[in-house]
């Protein structure tokens, strides 16, 4: 990419040089004359190698009042997620599903009362081995170096192959123009348009500015913890070390990066 960025600069300088009648400068001079990289990472950005989230459902149920949707509201407002108002075309990045629905392979008839029908926070699992990335025919869905599975909405052709591939139902499709269904538009973040798929992006845009994901920030009770799995001293690793955790459908080999404490 660096070469590509340099191309335009080179062109400008060379063009300028020609106008002055100095002839074509050696390319090495052009590079040597300016050692500033053109594009940088924000120095405040949160940097990780494998982002993950621990959802402490105990904290959520014990401390949160019944029906608390702070995390969901924060996410959906931040990202201009529309409220389509019909289950078939619903668009959601983070939502709740009952234990039996979220963990269908781990339910049983005589389950402990404390789990039965309990709402679980569910979102994209940012799998380490994501099937949606594998099937996408345009690389519109891809996995970043920090483990975030993210979409380039400019490139999505709306084939919905990723929706068929995702075993977590984490992907939504814009069956119609979402704009009229956004109650309060966040002017800082784009919307999507009809015909593309969308999903949770682990707040890549906030991490880039050094902020935690909106849902994590919104939870008053610290039920959502975000951190880097590759860092042994990270808060997520500390929690995982000392708690019994479950994951959604680990048997499918997708290696989900959302962990649940129950």
């Amino acid at each position: 990419m660096r070469g590509k960025r340099m191309d335009r600069r080179t062109f400008l300088k060379v063009a300028g040089a020609c106008v002055l009648g100095l002839g074509v400068m050696p390319v090495t001079d052009v590079f040597g004359g300016n050692d500033l990289p053109k594009i940088l990472r924000n120095p405040n950005a949160l940097v990780g190698k494998k982002w993950a989230m621990v959802v402490d459902m105990k904290k959520c149920w014990d401390n949160g009042e019944e029906g608390c949707v702070d995390c969901i509201r924060a996410c959906h407002r931040t990202h201009n997620v529309p409220n389509i108002g019909n289950a078939k075309e619903e668009i959601k990045w983070i939502w709740t599903a009952s234990y039996e629905n979220a963990f269908p392979d781990q339910k049983n008839e005589y389950m402990e009362e404390s789990l039965k029908g309990k709402p679980f926070i569910v979102l994209c699992n940012h799998c380490a081995n994501p099937p949606c990335v594998r099937v996408c025919p345009t690389k519109a869905t891809f996995k970043r170096e920090d483990g975030i599975v993210i979409m380039d909405y400019h490139r999505c052709i709306g084939c919905r192959y990723c929706m068929a591939a995702c075993p977590y139902g984490a992907r939504s499709f814009n069956f119609k123009d979402p704009r009229p269904f956004i109650a309060e538009v966040n002017p800082k973040f784009p919307t999507r348009e009809k015909g593309v798929v969308e999903k949770c992006n682990f707040c890549a845009e906030r991490l880039a500015e050094g902020l935690l994901p909106a849902c994590v920030e919104a939870c008053k009770h610290g039920a959502l913890v975000f951190g880097d799995l590759e860092d042994p001293e990270s808060n997520v690793r500390k929690i995982l070390r000392s708690n019994y955790i479950i994951q959604r459908k680990p048997q499918l080999g997708t290696k989900p990066n959302i962990y649940y404490i129950v």
Binding site: M1, K4, R5, R8, R9, L12, L36, P37, K38, I39, L40, R41, N42, A45, F142, R144, E145, D146, I150, D152, Y153, H154, D177, V185, P187, K188, F189, P190, T191, R192, E193, A204, A208
Partner: protein, 132 residues
């Protein structure tokens, strides 16, 4: 010539249709648009300069935006260092439109003149003042 009359009529019609855009617009040269720069944010600027020099921006803003898009989404790098060393947050919606808050007077004028319809604004939100 076989079936000469119909062939000639057909040919004339064809030439007429194909050349339609040329003779339809003869003598009606549209004047080049003057995009407006008088937004409050631009007025406050000491040096009225876009992220790069005006001629470059005029000719290549779309390449620049494409480059930004790739960098921001795919590489996660969001700070652009301009030719003069100034740093910018690479964002159409939050940086470009901050100054050029007058989309209809700025973006649309030229786009209309050259007959392009960029679909940026089906997702990226334009500043409020345009909606008035």
């Amino acid at each position: 010539m076989y079936n000469a009359r119909n062939t000639v009529i057909g040919l004339i019609l064809l030439i007429g249709l194909v050349s339609f855009p040329f003779w339809y617009s003869t003598g009606k040269a549209a004047s080049a648009p003057q995009p407006k720069l008088d937004t409050p944010t631009i007025q406050e600027l000491e040096e009225k300069r876009c992220v790069e020099a005006t001629p470059y921006m005029r000719a290549s803003h779309m390449q620049l935006l494409n480059e930004w898009r790739t960098s921001v989404i795919r590489e996660g790098n969001r700070i652009y260092v301009a030719e003069n060393g100034e740093r910018y947050n690479m964002s159409l919606q939050n940086t470009c439109m901050e100054c050029h808050s007058n989309k209809t007077q700025f973006c649309d004028r030229c786009h209309k003149y050259v007959g392009v319809k960029p679909d940026c604004w089906t997702c990226h939100i334009e500043s409020k003042e345009n909606k008035l």
